[in-house]
Subunit: 280 residues, 2 copies
């Protein structure tokens, strides 16, 4: 079946309403394009959850800071569309713009958005919650799939869905990794060959964290060890944060909570900021 590409927001909403009226279900994968195997695994998961899979491709300006990479963010739409089709997407929603020039309404999550990536990227999560709220109202999904790679983002979105009573279910999809362990990211293409090699340390530290938790070490000890490992293996890398928090409430932890402890990292390799995490 051919994939349908929709560019107008109102047309997307009308289509979604028609699908629902026909008694069919919608699974939604919101993306900013530059799709890699991580995104495609979300589409695979969505496929199993509903009659229709809608993938949005929209580089959302409101979640980028003034000094961030909005303009240079990759936009390989033709490749993205071909990949979506290959993995069984029914509709690609690819709007030119989702904001009125005098747009003045924002969705703000005020607790889970602070700290972690919200610290280095003020206003980022306000942009994320607002655009995701808009997309939910346009795509009207029964389920929406988000990658666990952006652990804080998915926790914030789950909280928003609960607090604002959106009639849908969030599914967390596991992180997809390169053979050497590097978490897949659209930003990995920015890395120089040397930075790419050094970046493997991130996933290595998460394995160590898992082992240390098993050995009874506490969050502080684990964070310190991770910091040392990164400093030793990649001395030019700049650590933004290393934190152990509850995976849903994102409350900082002094003791390990089994299966609910998020180990979250953000590290700059050159100008490129990479994140990785594990729930242990």
């Amino acid at each position: 079946m051919a994939v349908q590409i929709i560019r107008l927001p109102q047309k997307m909403q009308r289509k979604a309403l028609a699908i629902r009226k026909a008694g069919k279900t919608i699974a939604f994968v919101p993306t900013m394009g530059a799709l890699h195997e991580g995104h495609l695994s979300l589409i695979d998961l969505a496929r199993k959850k509903a009659d229709y899979v809608v993938v949005s491709i929209y580089v959302n300006p409101t979640q980028f800071g003034p000094k961030e990479d909005f303009s240079r963010y990759p936009r390989p739409f033709k490749t993205d569309a071909a990949l979506c089709k290959l993995r069984g997407t029914d509709i690609i929603f690819n709007p030119d713009n989702l904001y009125a020039p005098d747009s003045s309404t924002w969705i703000n999550e005020e607790t889970l958005s602070t700290g972690l990536c919200g610290g280095a990227r003020p206003g980022h999560f306000r942009g994320v919650t607002t655009v995701v709220g808009k997309l939910f109202n346009l795509v009207l999904p029964h389920v929406a799939v988000f990658g666990q790679k952006d652990a804080q983002q998915v926790a914030v979105i789950e909280r928003m869905v609960r607090d604002l009573d959106f009639p849908l279910k969030i599914i967390r999809a596991p992180i997809t990794r390169e053979p050497d362990g590097l978490a897949m990211s659209s930003r990995n293409i920015y890395l120089s060959p040397d930075e790419r090699q050094k970046a493997v340390i991130l996933s290595q530290t998460l394995k160590t964290a898992k082992q240390m938790a098993r050995d009874g070490k506490n969050p502080k000890q684990i964070a310190q060890t991770i910091g040392k490992m990164i400093a030793q293996f990649a001395p030019d890398a700049r650590i933004d944060y290393i934190e152990l928090r509850h995976s849903q409430s994102l409350i900082p932890l002094k003791q390990i909570v089994p299966r609910k402890t998020l180990v979250a990292l953000a590290v700059y390799f050159g100008k490129t900021r990479l994140i990785d995490n594990a729930v242990i």
Copy 2:
């Protein structure tokens, strides 16, 4: 037909999804109860717009300031339910509580909410937009009816619906008045007999405003005349604001824009703050 009373938010949402799945439409009238003929006229209008009429009765704590009348706000549920039934309501949604104790997500309209009632009531519109967004997600209406009495509120809600792409249409219902012209309000019961008599000046000034606009007077002249009329007729009343603004964008006007000029008043009679307006 008997009216159905629903108290659990999840049950309301399931019911709304079932109605939509059956191909039927929903018209929604959100209220805080203490229903008067103004509210009932919204129900009458809703009746004409959809298969099902849902009226919510919920005194929303987040739109009251710390010094406002949340606890003493009237809650005559039995009478309200009887009135809803009489006017042809299908479902009364009467939740005990709509907020989780650790609720942390807010909808903020940042432009139209400032000034007018947003000036005297900081945080009020944040509470309104958040609860209305939640109610939209629980009741899933095709149309929602708001009274023009709360002119700023309906402008803010229209803006929110546009900005966040809610899949529904807002209908503005005209102000319902007592025989002597006083706009109906749940707060009118707070007025002493003397205050009640004096309060009639509000609607009188709006008639004068209309005539002055016809005579070519500008917003500043009209506002000054209204101020004098109130000071003369009700010297104990305290004026909060008298403003002429665009009825949709709420931008302050220096010239009359025909049919789009909102004359908005807020005046305290004793401790009771009354609002009234006209679009001229």
